[in-house]
Symmetry: C2
Subunit: 316 residues, 2 copies
C-alpha cells in the first residue's frame, strides 16, 4: 500500500520562526526533500508579507519549487487575494484554510466561517475561469478535532462544513488537528464519517504532536482508510505560547513508522535523516523535535518492498 506524505514544514514550520530565513535555505530544503523522494510540498503561505514577513519571498520559492520534477507544489491561501497570487504563479494546489470553530476562524483569518465559505466559492470560480493550468483547490479544515478557544469541536460541525466545502467545489480536503487536541478514538471516528460523507475525493490528515499523540493518531486515520498525511521535517513548528510543545508530526518519524509497518512512502529514510541534518544546520538554532534521527534505525530495518526495489536499482 502506498501512503502519500506531504512536507508542510516549509510553511507550517517556517511560519513559527520570526527571523527571516534566507530564500537559499528554503530552496535547499525543497531540493533536499525532493531528492529523498518527497513528492508534495506546501512551499509557502500567501499571506500579506506585513503579517508574516517570513513568506515575503514566496514568489522566488514557488518558482524554484516548480522546477523540481514530479513535485506537486502546494501553497496555503487564506483568502481570494492569496489565491490570485497562487494562481498567477502557477502552483499545483491551492490549500485554502478555514476553521471549523467560529472563534478560531475569526482570530485566524478575521471573518466568520460563513464568510470564509463564500470566499472559497469565489476562489473556485476564479480558478474555473482561469485560462492557464488549473490548480486543484483544496479545503483545509482547521480545528477539526478541537480548538484552543472553544474547546470541543463536534464531529457534526466538521461534517457539515466538509459537505459545504465539497458543494462549493473543493477537489480535495484536509482535516487538521491544528492545536494537538485529537485522540485516536476521535480521529478514527471522524475520518470514517467524513470519508463516508465525501465519497471518493482525497482526504489528507494533518496532525500536530503537541500532546504526544500525533503518530497514534496517524495509525487511527490509517484504519479509517486515510492514505495522505502532512508532516514537518524535525517536527518544526509549534506554538509560541507553549514552550517545548512540538509542532507537526516529524516527517522522518512518520516515514519510519509507516515503512516499519510495511507501507510504502516512496521516501528514502536514510537519506531523509541526512537531509534533516543538512537542513537544520542551514536553518540555525530552532526548537527541533523528532526521535528517529537521534535513536537511529533498528538493526535489520528494511524499507518497504517497492522502496527497497527502487533503491537496489539505483547505481551505487
Amino acid at each position: 500500500m502506498i501512503i502519500k506524505i506531504n512536507e508542510v514544514g516549509t510553511r507550517d514550520g517556517l511560519q513559527s520562526i520570526s527571523t527571516f530565513i534566507p530564500t537559499a535555505v528554503k530552496t535547499l530544503w525543497l531540493d533536499e526533500e525532493h531528492a529523498c523522494g518527497v513528492r508534495e510540498i506546501e512551499v509557502c503561505s500567501f499571506v500579506p508579507p506585513k503579517l508574516i514577513p517570513q513568506f515575503s519571498d514566496a514568489t522566488d520559492v514557488v518558482e524554484h519549487a516548480k522546477r523540481l520534477s514530479g513535485l506537486t507544489v502546494s501553497a496555503l491561501v487564506p483568502n481570494l487575494k492569496g489565491a490570485q497570487r497562487a494562481l498567477e504563479l502557477g502552483v499545483d494546489k491551492i490549500n485554502y484554510v478555514l476553521s471549523v470553530s467560529e472563534s478560531h476562524n475569526l482570530a485566524n483569518v478575521r471573518r466568520t466561517t460563513k464568510e470564509s465559505v463564500a470566499d472559497f466559492e469565489r476562489i473556485v470560480a476564479l480558478v474555473s475561469e482561469h485560462q492557464g493550468k488549473k490548480p486543484k483547490v483544496v479545503a483545509g479544515l482547521s480545528t477539526a478535532l478541537g480548538c484552543t478557544i472553544e474547546g470541543k469541536v463536534t464531529h457534526e460541525a466538521v461534517r457539515t462544513l466538509a459537505l459545504l466545502m465539497l458543494k462549493a467545489g473543493a477537489d480535495e480536503m484536509i482535516l487538521a488537528d491544528t492545536v494537538g487536541y485529537a485522540d485516536p478514538k476521535a480521529v478514527k471516528q471522524l475520518f470514517q464519517q467524513v470519508k463516508s460523507d465525501l465519497g471518493p475525493i482525497p482526504i489528507t490528515a494533518h496532525f500536530h504532536d503537541t500532546r504526544a499523540l500525533g503518530l497514534a493518531n496517524v495509525c487511527a486515520a490509517l484504519e479509517a482508510g486515510i492514505d495522505s498525511f502532512d508532516a514537518s521535517l524535525a517536527g518544526l513548528g509549534g506554538c509560541p505560547y507553549a514552550p517545548g510543545a512540538s509542532g507537526n508530526i516529524a516527517t522522518e518519524d512518520l516515514v519510519f513508522m509507516l515503512e516499519s509497518m510495511g507501507l510504502n512512502t516512496g521516501i528514502d529514510l536514510t537519506k531523509l535523516i541526512k537531509a534533516r541534518q543538512t537542513i537544520c544546520q542551514a536553518l540555525g538554532d530552532h526548537p527541533y523535535h523528532g526521535t528517529i534521527a537521534k535513536a537511529g534505525l533498528p538493526i535489520g530495518f528494511e524499507l518497504s518492498q517497492s522502496q527497497s526495489q527502487s533503491q537496489s536499482q539505483s547505481p551505487h
Copy 2:
C-alpha cells in the same frame, strides 16, 4: 472499559541513573503515585547490589510500598536468588525477566534462554512450597519485538517461549519491546497471536518510546485486546548509549491518551502531572521526557466517566 497502568519508572527508570537516589525520594515517588490512583508499581529490582547499587535499599523500599493500601507491589527478579529475597519480603508479584533473543539473554542475565526457563521452573516450585502469602509469578519476555544484538525477533520465537513459560507455571505474562524496535503492525499481530495462544491469563504490554512509536504501539495493543500497560513517569529511563533517546512511554502521556479515548485508568491525571513535578524535583537533574506536562491539558478535557464520578465524590 478499565485499563490497568503499572508504574515501572521506580525500577526501569531508576536503573538508568548511576548516582544513588535516596530511599526517601523513592518512597516519596511511591506515595505520590499511589495518591493519584496508581495501583501497581514495580518498586525495585532484586539484582545483586554490586551490579546495580541503585537497588541496594530494595528491602526498605518494599517494606514501605507494602504499607500503601490496595497497591500491588511487584519487583523485577533476574534469577532464583532474587526470587528468594522477593518472596521473603512478601511482594505481590515476582516479575521474572528473560529475553526471547539468546544473545540478549546471555548479555543481560548471563545464561542461555533454556537455562532461564529452568530457573523459572525452580522459582515456581519455590513459590508453590512457600508457606506464607504466595506472590503471583510473572514471566517478562524481553526483546519480544526486536533485539539490538540480533535485530529481528520472529513472532514464532516469542510464541514458543511464551507457551514454555505458561507450561512452566507463569500466572501472568509481560511482552516487552525492551529496545524500542516495535511498530504498530507487528504489535497488533504479535499480541493477537500470543493472546490467542495463552488463553485467559493476563498479558501486559511494556513499550519503550525510543523511536517515537510508544503510544501508537499502545493503540495497536489495545486493538489486540490488551488492557494492561507498563509506563514510567516522565519517561524516565532510556539507553545510556543513545543520548536523547527516551525510555519507557511516559505514564502521564499514556494516561492522557487513554482517558481522551474514554478509557478509564482510575488515575487522576491533573494530580499525576503535579506529582511528576514533585518527583522530578526530588530526583534532581536527569533526562525527563513526556509531553502533556509541558503542553497542558486541552480546554474542556474530561477524565473518563467513572474517574470523573469518583472525583466529584471527593470532598473538595
